[in-house]
Protein backbone atom coordinates (compact mmCIF):
# COMPACT_ATOMS: atom_id res chain seq x y z
CA UNK A 1 0.00 0.00 0.00
CA UNK A 2 2.91 2.36 0.75
CA UNK A 3 4.53 2.12 -2.68
CA UNK A 4 1.75 3.82 -4.62
CA UNK A 5 0.73 6.39 -2.01
CA UNK A 6 1.27 9.30 -4.36
CA UNK A 7 -1.13 7.98 -6.95
CA UNK A 8 -3.81 6.82 -4.52
CA UNK A 9 -7.05 8.68 -5.36
CA UNK A 10 -7.63 9.20 -1.62
CA UNK A 11 -4.42 11.27 -1.49
CA UNK A 12 -4.85 12.84 -4.94
CA UNK A 13 -8.23 14.32 -3.94
CA UNK A 14 -6.30 16.57 -1.54
CA UNK A 15 -2.90 16.98 -3.24
CA UNK A 16 -4.20 17.85 -6.73
CA UNK A 17 -6.10 20.99 -5.70
CA UNK A 18 -3.16 21.96 -3.45
CA UNK A 19 -0.82 21.58 -6.41
CA UNK A 20 -3.25 23.60 -8.53
CA UNK A 21 -3.28 26.35 -5.90
CA UNK A 22 0.52 26.48 -5.92
CA UNK A 23 0.68 26.57 -9.74
CA UNK A 24 -1.97 29.29 -10.10
CA UNK A 25 -0.09 31.34 -7.51
CA UNK A 26 3.22 30.88 -9.32
CA UNK A 27 1.86 31.49 -12.84
CA UNK A 28 -0.96 34.02 -12.39
CA UNK A 29 -1.07 34.79 -16.14
CA UNK A 30 -2.21 31.25 -16.86
CA UNK A 31 -4.47 31.01 -13.81
CA UNK A 32 -7.63 30.13 -15.75
CA UNK A 33 -6.36 27.19 -17.85
CA UNK A 34 -4.30 25.87 -14.93
CA UNK A 35 -7.26 26.22 -12.59
CA UNK A 36 -9.60 24.41 -14.95
CA UNK A 37 -6.99 21.69 -15.41
CA UNK A 38 -6.65 21.26 -11.62
CA UNK A 39 -10.45 21.22 -11.30
CA UNK A 40 -10.81 18.48 -13.92
CA UNK A 41 -7.98 16.44 -12.38
CA UNK A 42 -9.38 16.76 -8.84
CA UNK A 43 -12.85 15.83 -9.98
CA UNK A 44 -11.57 12.74 -11.80
CA UNK A 45 -9.63 11.72 -8.67
CA UNK A 46 -12.85 11.99 -6.66
CA UNK A 47 -14.77 9.93 -9.21
CA UNK A 48 -12.01 7.29 -9.22
CA UNK A 49 -12.18 7.23 -5.43
CA UNK A 50 -15.95 6.76 -5.66
CA UNK A 51 -15.52 3.81 -8.02
CA UNK A 52 -12.83 2.31 -5.75
CA UNK A 53 -15.05 2.49 -2.67
CA UNK A 54 -18.01 1.16 -4.65
CA UNK A 55 -15.97 -1.87 -5.75
CA UNK A 56 -13.85 -2.58 -2.67
CA UNK A 57 -15.77 -1.09 0.25
CA UNK A 58 -14.59 1.56 2.72
CA UNK A 59 -10.93 2.56 2.36
CA UNK A 60 -8.34 3.54 4.97
CA UNK A 61 -4.89 4.90 4.45
CA UNK A 62 -2.13 5.70 6.94
CA UNK A 63 0.33 8.22 5.53
CA UNK A 64 4.09 8.37 6.02
CA UNK A 65 4.57 4.89 7.43
CA UNK A 66 3.82 5.91 11.02
CA UNK A 67 1.74 4.00 13.51
CA UNK A 68 -1.97 4.79 13.27
CA UNK A 69 -1.86 6.74 16.59
CA UNK A 70 0.70 9.18 15.18
CA UNK A 71 0.15 9.22 11.44
CA UNK A 72 -2.16 11.36 9.37
CA UNK A 73 -4.91 8.93 8.51
CA UNK A 74 -7.33 9.24 5.62
CA UNK A 75 -10.49 7.22 5.22
CA UNK A 76 -13.38 7.01 2.85
CA UNK A 77 -16.62 5.25 3.68
CA UNK A 78 -19.96 5.49 1.88
CA UNK A 79 -21.10 8.68 3.64
CA UNK A 80 -17.79 10.50 3.00
CA UNK A 81 -17.69 9.42 -0.64
CA UNK A 82 -21.29 10.43 -1.30
CA UNK A 83 -20.64 13.96 -0.02
CA UNK A 84 -17.21 14.22 -1.62
CA UNK A 85 -18.61 13.21 -5.03
CA UNK A 86 -21.33 15.85 -4.75
CA UNK A 87 -18.84 18.49 -3.62
CA UNK A 88 -16.39 17.74 -6.44
CA UNK A 89 -19.02 17.75 -9.19
CA UNK A 90 -20.49 21.00 -7.88
CA UNK A 91 -17.00 22.48 -7.58
CA UNK A 92 -16.24 21.54 -11.19
CA UNK A 93 -19.43 23.31 -12.32
CA UNK A 94 -18.48 26.36 -10.26
CA UNK A 95 -14.97 26.35 -11.78
CA UNK A 96 -16.31 26.36 -15.34
CA UNK A 97 -18.69 29.19 -14.46
CA UNK A 98 -15.96 31.15 -12.66
CA UNK A 99 -13.59 30.91 -15.65
CA UNK A 100 -15.78 33.44 -17.43
CA UNK A 101 -17.18 35.34 -14.46
CA UNK A 102 -14.38 37.64 -13.29
CA UNK A 103 -13.81 40.57 -15.65
CA UNK A 104 -11.14 42.20 -13.46
CA UNK A 105 -7.83 40.32 -14.05
CA UNK A 106 -6.63 41.04 -10.51
CA UNK A 107 -9.71 39.42 -8.96
CA UNK A 108 -9.39 36.49 -11.29
CA UNK A 109 -5.80 35.93 -10.22
CA UNK A 110 -6.80 36.12 -6.56
CA UNK A 111 -9.74 33.79 -7.07
CA UNK A 112 -8.05 30.64 -8.36
CA UNK A 113 -5.46 29.91 -5.63
CA UNK A 114 -7.99 30.59 -2.87
CA UNK A 115 -10.67 28.54 -4.59
CA UNK A 116 -8.39 25.54 -5.10
CA UNK A 117 -7.22 25.79 -1.47
CA UNK A 118 -10.84 25.79 -0.37
CA UNK A 119 -11.44 22.74 -2.54
CA UNK A 120 -8.47 20.93 -0.96
CA UNK A 121 -9.83 21.77 2.50
CA UNK A 122 -13.27 20.44 1.58
CA UNK A 123 -11.90 17.13 0.31
CA UNK A 124 -9.60 16.92 3.32
CA UNK A 125 -12.54 17.44 5.63
CA UNK A 126 -14.61 14.70 4.03
CA UNK A 127 -11.73 12.25 3.98
CA UNK A 128 -9.76 13.00 7.18
CA UNK A 129 -9.59 10.15 9.65
CA UNK A 130 -8.62 11.96 12.84
CA UNK A 131 -10.00 14.75 14.96
CA UNK A 132 -7.06 17.13 14.71
CA UNK A 133 -6.75 17.04 10.93
CA UNK A 134 -10.44 17.76 10.82
CA UNK A 135 -9.66 20.90 12.84
CA UNK A 136 -6.90 21.99 10.46
CA UNK A 137 -9.14 21.44 7.42
CA UNK A 138 -11.97 23.29 9.17
CA UNK A 139 -9.74 26.31 9.75
CA UNK A 140 -8.34 26.24 6.22
CA UNK A 141 -11.91 26.09 4.92
CA UNK A 142 -13.03 28.99 7.09
CA UNK A 143 -10.07 31.22 6.18
CA UNK A 144 -10.29 30.63 2.41
CA UNK A 145 -14.09 30.97 2.45
CA UNK A 146 -13.93 34.35 4.19
CA UNK A 147 -11.16 35.59 1.87
CA UNK A 148 -13.12 34.50 -1.21
CA UNK A 149 -16.34 36.03 0.09
CA UNK A 150 -14.64 39.40 0.51
CA UNK A 151 -13.25 39.27 -3.04
CA UNK A 152 -15.60 41.90 -4.47
CA UNK A 153 -13.96 44.37 -2.09
CA UNK A 154 -17.18 46.27 -1.42
CA UNK A 155 -17.67 47.51 2.11
CA UNK A 156 -20.70 45.23 2.72
CA UNK A 157 -18.81 42.20 1.47
CA UNK A 158 -15.69 42.91 3.55
CA UNK A 159 -17.57 43.62 6.77
CA UNK A 160 -19.94 40.64 6.32
CA UNK A 161 -17.03 38.31 5.66
CA UNK A 162 -14.92 39.70 8.49
CA UNK A 163 -17.81 38.79 10.77
CA UNK A 164 -18.01 35.39 9.08
CA UNK A 165 -14.29 34.86 9.71
CA UNK A 166 -14.54 35.79 13.40
CA UNK A 167 -17.59 33.60 13.94
CA UNK A 168 -15.84 30.75 12.14
CA UNK A 169 -12.76 31.14 14.33
CA UNK A 170 -14.89 31.06 17.46
CA UNK A 171 -16.55 27.90 16.20
CA UNK A 172 -13.30 26.12 15.43
CA UNK A 173 -11.66 27.09 18.73
CA UNK A 174 -14.63 25.62 20.58
CA UNK A 175 -14.23 22.48 18.48
CA UNK A 176 -10.50 22.39 19.31
CA UNK A 177 -11.14 22.51 23.06
CA UNK A 178 -13.47 19.55 22.56
CA UNK A 179 -10.65 17.72 20.78
CA UNK A 180 -8.25 18.54 23.64
CA UNK A 181 -10.74 17.13 26.17
CA UNK A 182 -11.19 13.94 24.16
CA UNK A 183 -7.41 13.50 23.91
CA UNK A 184 -7.12 14.05 27.68
CA UNK A 185 -9.69 11.35 28.32
CA UNK A 186 -8.79 8.76 25.70
CA UNK A 187 -5.22 9.49 24.56
CA UNK A 188 -5.92 9.19 20.84
CA UNK A 189 -7.25 11.33 17.99
CA UNK A 190 -8.17 8.60 15.51
CA UNK A 191 -11.93 8.70 14.85
CA UNK A 192 -12.38 4.96 15.05
CA UNK A 193 -10.26 4.54 18.22
CA UNK A 194 -11.99 7.44 20.01
CA UNK A 195 -15.39 6.01 19.07
CA UNK A 196 -14.44 2.67 20.63
CA UNK A 197 -13.00 4.33 23.72
CA UNK A 198 -16.17 6.37 24.27
CA UNK A 199 -18.31 3.26 23.90
CA UNK A 200 -16.09 1.25 26.25
CA UNK A 201 -15.61 3.72 29.07
CA UNK A 202 -18.76 5.21 30.54
CA UNK A 203 -16.94 6.50 33.64
CA UNK A 204 -15.67 9.40 31.56
CA UNK A 205 -19.21 10.42 30.61
CA UNK A 206 -18.79 13.99 31.94
CA UNK A 207 -15.66 14.70 29.86
CA UNK A 208 -17.17 13.13 26.75
CA UNK A 209 -20.39 15.09 27.19
CA UNK A 210 -18.47 18.36 27.62
CA UNK A 211 -16.49 17.59 24.46
CA UNK A 212 -19.72 16.79 22.62
CA UNK A 213 -21.30 20.09 23.65
CA UNK A 214 -18.20 22.12 22.73
CA UNK A 215 -17.67 20.44 19.37
CA UNK A 216 -21.29 20.38 18.26
CA UNK A 217 -22.00 23.96 19.32
CA UNK A 218 -18.83 25.18 17.60
CA UNK A 219 -19.81 23.37 14.43
CA UNK A 220 -23.45 24.48 14.67
CA UNK A 221 -22.15 28.04 14.64
CA UNK A 222 -20.24 27.30 11.44
CA UNK A 223 -23.21 25.42 9.99
CA UNK A 224 -25.49 28.43 10.68
CA UNK A 225 -28.01 26.44 12.70
CA UNK A 226 -30.77 28.72 13.99
CA UNK A 227 -30.30 30.96 16.05
CA UNK A 228 -26.59 30.97 15.16
CA UNK A 229 -27.36 31.75 11.50
CA UNK A 230 -27.16 35.57 11.78
CA UNK A 231 -23.84 35.81 9.94
CA UNK A 232 -24.83 33.73 6.92
CA UNK A 233 -27.28 35.83 4.85
CA UNK A 234 -25.08 38.96 4.48
CA UNK A 235 -21.89 36.94 3.90
CA UNK A 236 -23.43 34.68 1.24
CA UNK A 237 -25.51 37.39 -0.45
CA UNK A 238 -22.59 39.82 -0.91
CA UNK A 239 -19.98 37.36 -2.22
CA UNK A 240 -19.29 36.98 -5.98
CA UNK A 241 -21.76 34.51 -7.51
CA UNK A 242 -19.46 31.49 -7.88
CA UNK A 243 -18.26 32.01 -4.31
CA UNK A 244 -21.83 32.31 -2.97
CA UNK A 245 -22.60 29.01 -4.66
CA UNK A 246 -19.60 27.35 -3.03
CA UNK A 247 -20.29 28.85 0.41
CA UNK A 248 -23.98 27.92 0.47
CA UNK A 249 -23.81 24.55 -1.24
CA UNK A 250 -20.52 23.18 0.07
CA UNK A 251 -18.85 25.06 2.94
CA UNK A 252 -21.87 25.06 5.25
CA UNK A 253 -22.55 21.46 4.29
CA UNK A 254 -19.06 20.44 5.43
CA UNK A 255 -19.81 21.53 9.02
CA UNK A 256 -23.15 19.72 8.94
CA UNK A 257 -21.36 16.61 7.67
CA UNK A 258 -18.99 16.81 10.60
CA UNK A 259 -21.84 17.18 13.12
CA UNK A 260 -23.61 14.14 11.65
CA UNK A 261 -20.35 12.19 11.63
CA UNK A 262 -19.57 13.03 15.28
CA UNK A 263 -23.16 12.50 16.38
CA UNK A 264 -23.64 9.12 14.72
CA UNK A 265 -20.15 7.62 14.75
CA UNK A 266 -18.31 9.07 17.70
CA UNK A 267 -20.79 10.12 20.35
CA UNK A 268 -23.57 7.63 19.54
CA UNK A 269 -23.30 5.94 22.99
CA UNK A 270 -23.82 9.19 24.89
CA UNK A 271 -26.24 11.22 22.74
CA UNK A 272 -29.70 10.80 24.18
CA UNK A 273 -33.08 11.54 22.70
CA UNK A 274 -33.32 14.84 24.61
CA UNK A 275 -30.18 16.27 23.00
CA UNK A 276 -31.31 15.14 19.55
CA UNK A 277 -34.72 16.67 20.19
CA UNK A 278 -33.11 19.98 21.16
CA UNK A 279 -31.10 20.16 17.92
CA UNK A 280 -34.19 19.18 15.91
CA UNK A 281 -36.20 21.97 17.57
CA UNK A 282 -33.52 24.44 16.47
CA UNK A 283 -33.70 22.85 13.01
CA UNK A 284 -37.48 23.28 12.95
CA UNK A 285 -37.13 26.95 13.91
CA UNK A 286 -34.55 27.32 11.12
CA UNK A 287 -36.94 25.78 8.58
CA UNK A 288 -39.79 28.13 9.46
CA UNK A 289 -37.76 31.29 10.09
CA UNK A 290 -35.39 30.82 7.13
CA UNK A 291 -38.24 30.14 4.70
CA UNK A 292 -40.21 33.10 6.03
CA UNK A 293 -37.26 35.47 5.64
CA UNK A 294 -36.60 34.08 2.15
CA UNK A 295 -40.18 34.90 1.24
CA UNK A 296 -39.73 38.46 2.53
CA UNK A 297 -36.29 39.01 0.94
CA UNK A 298 -36.04 41.80 -1.59
CA UNK A 299 -32.94 40.52 -3.38
CA UNK A 300 -32.56 37.25 -5.22
CA UNK A 301 -29.24 36.30 -3.62
CA UNK A 302 -30.51 37.15 -0.14
CA UNK A 303 -33.50 34.91 -0.81
CA UNK A 304 -31.16 32.07 -1.76
CA UNK A 305 -29.06 32.67 1.37
CA UNK A 306 -32.08 32.51 3.73
CA UNK A 307 -33.28 29.43 1.92
CA UNK A 308 -29.95 27.82 2.86
CA UNK A 309 -30.69 28.53 6.55
CA UNK A 310 -33.99 26.67 6.12
CA UNK A 311 -32.55 23.77 4.14
CA UNK A 312 -29.85 23.18 6.76
CA UNK A 313 -32.64 23.05 9.35
CA UNK A 314 -34.30 20.06 7.66
CA UNK A 315 -31.15 17.97 8.11
CA UNK A 316 -31.35 18.32 11.90
CA UNK A 317 -34.94 17.02 11.99
CA UNK A 318 -33.55 13.56 11.27
CA UNK A 319 -31.57 13.31 14.54
CA UNK A 320 -34.40 12.43 16.98
CA UNK A 321 -35.86 10.01 14.44
CA UNK A 322 -32.49 8.27 14.07
CA UNK A 323 -32.21 8.20 17.88
CA UNK A 324 -35.38 6.14 18.34
CA UNK A 325 -35.11 3.93 15.25
CA UNK A 326 -33.21 0.66 15.86
CA UNK A 327 -30.70 -0.48 13.20
CA UNK A 328 -32.43 -2.01 10.21
CA UNK A 329 -34.02 -0.96 6.92
CA UNK A 330 -36.13 1.90 8.41
CA UNK A 331 -32.98 3.48 9.90
CA UNK A 332 -31.06 2.99 6.65
CA UNK A 333 -33.91 4.77 4.88
CA UNK A 334 -33.71 7.72 7.28
CA UNK A 335 -29.93 8.02 6.92
CA UNK A 336 -30.16 7.81 3.13
CA UNK A 337 -32.93 10.41 3.12
CA UNK A 338 -30.76 12.72 5.23
CA UNK A 339 -27.83 12.37 2.82
CA UNK A 340 -30.12 12.65 -0.20
CA UNK A 341 -31.49 15.97 1.07
CA UNK A 342 -27.98 17.27 1.71
CA UNK A 343 -26.85 16.23 -1.79
CA UNK A 344 -29.93 17.67 -3.48
CA UNK A 345 -29.48 20.95 -1.68
CA UNK A 346 -25.82 21.03 -2.73
CA UNK A 347 -26.67 20.70 -6.42
CA UNK A 348 -29.83 22.82 -6.36
CA UNK A 349 -28.42 25.71 -4.33
CA UNK A 350 -25.23 25.96 -6.38
CA UNK A 351 -27.32 25.94 -9.57
CA UNK A 352 -29.62 28.59 -8.08
CA UNK A 353 -26.75 30.89 -7.05
CA UNK A 354 -24.91 30.55 -10.37
CA UNK A 355 -28.12 31.39 -12.25
CA UNK A 356 -28.85 34.27 -9.88
CA UNK A 357 -25.33 35.58 -10.50
CA UNK A 358 -25.99 35.70 -14.24
CA UNK A 359 -29.31 37.44 -13.69
CA UNK A 360 -27.48 40.00 -11.56
CA UNK A 361 -24.71 40.64 -14.12
CA UNK A 362 -27.28 40.82 -16.89
CA UNK A 363 -29.73 43.18 -15.20
CA UNK A 364 -27.14 45.08 -13.15
CA UNK A 365 -29.04 44.32 -9.92
CA UNK A 366 -30.92 41.45 -8.27
CA UNK A 367 -34.01 43.16 -6.87
CA UNK A 368 -36.71 40.54 -7.27
CA UNK A 369 -39.48 43.06 -7.97
CA UNK A 370 -37.63 44.53 -10.97
CA UNK A 371 -36.69 41.30 -12.70
CA UNK A 372 -39.49 41.46 -15.31
CA UNK A 373 -38.42 40.09 -18.70
CA UNK A 374 -35.62 37.89 -17.32
CA UNK A 375 -37.42 34.81 -18.58
CA UNK A 376 -37.30 36.19 -22.12
CA UNK A 377 -33.77 37.56 -21.96
CA UNK A 378 -32.22 34.55 -20.23
CA UNK A 379 -34.52 31.59 -20.87
CA UNK A 380 -32.01 28.89 -19.94
CA UNK A 381 -31.06 30.66 -16.72
CA UNK A 382 -34.68 31.19 -15.71
CA UNK A 383 -35.28 27.51 -16.42
CA UNK A 384 -32.31 26.64 -14.18
CA UNK A 385 -33.78 28.78 -11.38
CA UNK A 386 -37.14 27.05 -11.82
CA UNK A 387 -35.53 23.58 -11.71
CA UNK A 388 -33.41 24.44 -8.67
CA UNK A 389 -36.46 26.01 -7.05
CA UNK A 390 -38.55 22.89 -7.52
CA UNK A 391 -35.78 20.89 -5.83
CA UNK A 392 -35.74 23.38 -2.94
CA UNK A 393 -39.51 23.00 -2.53
CA UNK A 394 -39.22 19.24 -2.77
CA UNK A 395 -41.45 18.69 -5.79
CA UNK A 396 -41.26 15.28 -7.47
CA UNK A 397 -39.09 13.97 -9.04
CA UNK A 398 -36.36 15.86 -7.16
CA UNK A 399 -34.12 14.15 -4.60
CA UNK A 400 -35.53 16.27 -1.79
CA UNK A 401 -39.03 14.97 -2.57
CA UNK A 402 -37.88 11.46 -1.67
CA UNK A 403 -35.94 12.85 1.30
CA UNK A 404 -38.90 14.74 2.72
CA UNK A 405 -41.23 11.80 2.04
CA UNK A 406 -39.02 9.41 4.03
CA UNK A 407 -38.57 12.05 6.73
CA UNK A 408 -42.34 12.41 7.20
CA UNK A 409 -42.82 8.64 7.04
CA UNK A 410 -40.16 8.19 9.73
CA UNK A 411 -41.72 10.92 11.86
CA UNK A 412 -45.13 9.25 11.79
CA UNK A 413 -43.75 5.75 12.35
CA UNK A 414 -41.78 6.86 15.41
CA UNK A 415 -44.71 8.80 16.85
CA UNK A 416 -43.06 12.24 16.41
CA UNK A 417 -45.83 13.49 14.12
CA UNK A 418 -45.12 17.17 14.87
CA UNK A 419 -42.15 17.24 12.48
CA UNK A 420 -44.63 16.63 9.65
CA UNK A 421 -46.17 20.04 10.37
CA UNK A 422 -42.72 21.65 10.19
CA UNK A 423 -41.88 19.97 6.88
CA UNK A 424 -45.24 20.92 5.36
CA UNK A 425 -44.98 24.54 6.50
CA UNK A 426 -41.44 24.79 5.17
CA UNK A 427 -42.41 23.32 1.81
CA UNK A 428 -45.41 25.64 1.46
CA UNK A 429 -43.28 28.69 2.26
CA UNK A 430 -40.62 27.43 -0.16
CA UNK A 431 -43.13 27.14 -2.99
CA UNK A 432 -44.29 30.67 -2.19
CA UNK A 433 -40.78 32.15 -2.42
CA UNK A 434 -39.82 30.21 -5.53
CA UNK A 435 -43.01 31.10 -7.39
CA UNK A 436 -42.65 34.71 -6.28
CA UNK A 437 -39.34 34.86 -8.18
CA UNK A 438 -40.70 33.02 -11.22
CA UNK A 439 -43.85 35.13 -11.47
CA UNK A 440 -41.70 38.30 -11.50
CA UNK A 441 -39.31 36.88 -14.09
CA UNK A 442 -41.79 36.97 -16.95
CA UNK A 443 -42.30 40.24 -18.83
CA UNK A 444 -44.00 41.42 -21.96
CA UNK A 445 -40.93 41.30 -24.19
CA UNK A 446 -40.91 39.03 -27.25
CA UNK A 447 -39.66 35.48 -26.74
CA UNK A 448 -36.14 35.07 -28.17
CA UNK A 449 -35.12 32.37 -30.60
CA UNK A 450 -32.05 31.27 -28.67
CA UNK A 451 -32.50 29.24 -25.49
CA UNK A 452 -28.88 29.53 -24.32
CA UNK A 453 -27.18 32.92 -24.60
CA UNK A 454 -23.91 32.41 -22.69
CA UNK A 455 -23.02 28.73 -22.62
CA UNK A 456 -20.10 28.86 -20.20
CA UNK A 457 -22.21 30.59 -17.55
CA UNK A 458 -25.59 28.99 -18.23
CA UNK A 459 -24.76 25.35 -18.85
CA UNK A 460 -23.17 24.67 -15.41
CA UNK A 461 -26.17 26.16 -13.59
CA UNK A 462 -28.55 24.18 -15.77
CA UNK A 463 -26.69 20.90 -15.34
CA UNK A 464 -26.35 21.27 -11.56
CA UNK A 465 -30.07 21.98 -11.21
CA UNK A 466 -30.90 19.06 -13.50
CA UNK A 467 -28.87 16.68 -11.35
CA UNK A 468 -30.80 17.85 -8.28
CA UNK A 469 -34.16 17.35 -9.95
CA UNK A 470 -33.73 14.39 -12.24
CA UNK A 471 -30.67 12.30 -11.38
CA UNK A 472 -30.99 12.38 -7.57
CA UNK A 473 -34.72 11.83 -7.73
CA UNK A 474 -34.97 9.14 -10.36
CA UNK A 475 -31.71 7.29 -9.79
CA UNK A 476 -31.00 7.56 -6.07
CA UNK A 477 -31.00 3.78 -5.53
CA UNK A 478 -27.18 3.38 -5.55
CA UNK A 479 -27.00 5.80 -2.58
CA UNK A 480 -28.46 3.10 -0.33
CA UNK A 481 -25.75 0.64 -1.41
CA UNK A 482 -23.04 3.27 -1.00
CA UNK A 483 -24.12 4.25 2.51
CA UNK A 484 -24.10 0.61 3.57
CA UNK A 485 -20.30 0.67 3.06
CA UNK A 486 -19.30 1.70 6.56
CA UNK A 487 -15.82 1.89 7.94
CA UNK A 488 -15.00 -1.17 9.98
CA UNK A 489 -14.07 0.88 13.08
CA UNK A 490 -10.59 1.77 14.29
CA UNK A 491 -7.12 1.17 12.95
Amino acid sequence: MYSNLLTDPLVLCITLPLLGAALTTALPRHAVPLGILAALATCSAAVTLGVDVWQHGALRLVLGGWEPELAIGLRADGLAVALALMANLVALGISVYASGYFRDPERMRAFWPLWLLLWAALNGLFLAGDLFNLYVMLELLGITAAALGALTGSREAVSANLRYLLVGLLGSISYLLGVALLYTAHGTLDLGLVARAIAANDRLFAVDAAALVLMVSGLALKAALFPLHFWLPPAHANAPAPVSAALSALVVKASVYLIIRLWLDLFAPITGLAAAMFLALLGAAAVVWGSWRALRAERLKLLAAYSTVAQIGYLFLFLPLLAVTPPGPPRDNLLAALVLMALTHGFAKSGFFLAAGLVQTNAGHDRIDDLGGTAQRLPATTFAIALAGSALIGLPPSGSFIGKWLLMQGAIESGQWWWVIVVTTGSLLASAYVFRVLSRAFGLEPTPLKFVTDARAEVPALLLSLVAVALLGLASGPLWTLLALRAGGGA
Binding site: A147, A150, L165, L170, L176, Y183
Partner: protein, 94 residues
Amino acid sequence: MTAQFLYGGAGLILFVLGLWSFLVHAPLLRKLIALNIMGGGVFHVLIAVAYRGDGVTPDPVPHALVLTGIVVAVSATALALVLGARLQDEQRQG
Protein backbone atom coordinates in the same frame (compact mmCIF):
# COMPACT_ATOMS: atom_id res chain seq x y z
CA MET B 1 -0.08 16.09 39.35
CA THR B 2 -1.23 19.28 41.10
CA ALA B 3 0.85 21.40 38.74
CA GLN B 4 -0.77 19.63 35.80
CA PHE B 5 -4.27 20.33 37.13
CA LEU B 6 -3.41 23.95 37.89
CA TYR B 7 -2.02 24.43 34.41
CA GLY B 8 -4.94 22.73 32.68
CA GLY B 9 -7.46 24.53 34.89
CA ALA B 10 -5.83 27.86 34.10
CA GLY B 11 -6.23 26.98 30.43
CA LEU B 12 -9.95 26.43 30.89
CA ILE B 13 -10.28 29.70 32.80
CA LEU B 14 -8.44 31.53 30.00
CA PHE B 15 -10.82 29.97 27.47
CA VAL B 16 -13.88 31.18 29.37
CA LEU B 17 -12.40 34.67 29.93
CA GLY B 18 -11.60 34.93 26.23
CA LEU B 19 -15.09 33.79 25.27
CA TRP B 20 -16.65 36.35 27.59
CA SER B 21 -14.49 39.12 26.15
CA PHE B 22 -15.23 38.04 22.56
CA LEU B 23 -18.97 38.18 23.15
CA VAL B 24 -19.02 41.44 25.12
CA HIS B 25 -16.64 43.72 23.22
CA ALA B 26 -17.37 45.09 19.76
CA PRO B 27 -14.00 46.43 18.49
CA LEU B 28 -12.19 44.12 16.10
CA LEU B 29 -8.86 44.25 17.93
CA ARG B 30 -10.43 43.26 21.24
CA LYS B 31 -12.29 40.41 19.56
CA LEU B 32 -9.08 39.17 17.94
CA ILE B 33 -7.14 39.35 21.19
CA ALA B 34 -9.99 37.51 22.90
CA LEU B 35 -9.88 34.76 20.26
CA ASN B 36 -6.13 34.42 20.70
CA ILE B 37 -6.58 34.16 24.47
CA MET B 38 -9.14 31.40 23.94
CA GLY B 39 -6.65 29.66 21.69
CA GLY B 40 -3.94 30.12 24.32
CA GLY B 41 -6.29 28.49 26.83
CA VAL B 42 -6.74 25.44 24.64
CA PHE B 43 -2.97 25.21 24.13
CA HIS B 44 -2.50 25.30 27.93
CA VAL B 45 -4.84 22.34 28.28
CA LEU B 46 -2.97 20.41 25.60
CA ILE B 47 0.42 21.13 27.18
CA ALA B 48 -0.90 20.03 30.57
CA VAL B 49 -2.08 16.78 28.99
CA ALA B 50 1.37 16.14 27.53
CA TYR B 51 3.02 16.16 31.00
CA ARG B 52 3.77 12.63 32.19
CA GLY B 53 5.72 13.29 35.37
CA ASP B 54 9.12 14.77 36.25
CA GLY B 55 12.02 13.31 34.31
CA VAL B 56 9.73 11.49 31.90
CA THR B 57 9.62 12.57 28.24
CA PRO B 58 6.34 14.38 27.67
CA ASP B 59 3.81 13.08 25.12
CA PRO B 60 4.89 14.61 21.78
CA VAL B 61 1.45 14.50 20.11
CA PRO B 62 -0.14 17.42 22.03
CA HIS B 63 3.04 19.46 21.47
CA ALA B 64 2.71 18.92 17.73
CA LEU B 65 -0.95 19.96 17.95
CA VAL B 66 -0.05 23.17 19.79
CA LEU B 67 2.58 24.07 17.16
CA THR B 68 0.10 23.52 14.34
CA GLY B 69 -2.55 25.40 16.26
CA ILE B 70 -0.26 28.41 16.67
CA VAL B 71 0.43 28.50 12.92
CA VAL B 72 -3.30 28.36 12.17
CA ALA B 73 -4.08 31.07 14.75
CA VAL B 74 -1.41 33.41 13.36
CA SER B 75 -2.65 33.11 9.78
CA ALA B 76 -6.29 33.55 10.78
CA THR B 77 -5.41 36.62 12.86
CA ALA B 78 -3.45 38.05 9.92
CA LEU B 79 -6.38 37.67 7.53
CA ALA B 80 -8.78 39.26 10.02
CA LEU B 81 -6.38 42.20 10.48
CA VAL B 82 -6.08 42.70 6.71
CA LEU B 83 -9.85 42.71 6.28
CA GLY B 84 -10.22 45.07 9.24
CA ALA B 85 -7.58 47.44 7.82
CA ARG B 86 -9.38 47.41 4.45
CA LEU B 87 -12.63 48.40 6.15
CA GLN B 88 -10.95 51.19 8.09
CA ASP B 89 -9.27 52.59 4.95
CA GLU B 90 -12.61 52.69 3.16
CA GLN B 91 -14.31 54.41 6.07
CA ARG B 92 -11.60 57.06 6.09
CA GLN B 93 -11.93 57.69 2.36
CA GLY B 94 -15.73 57.39 2.22
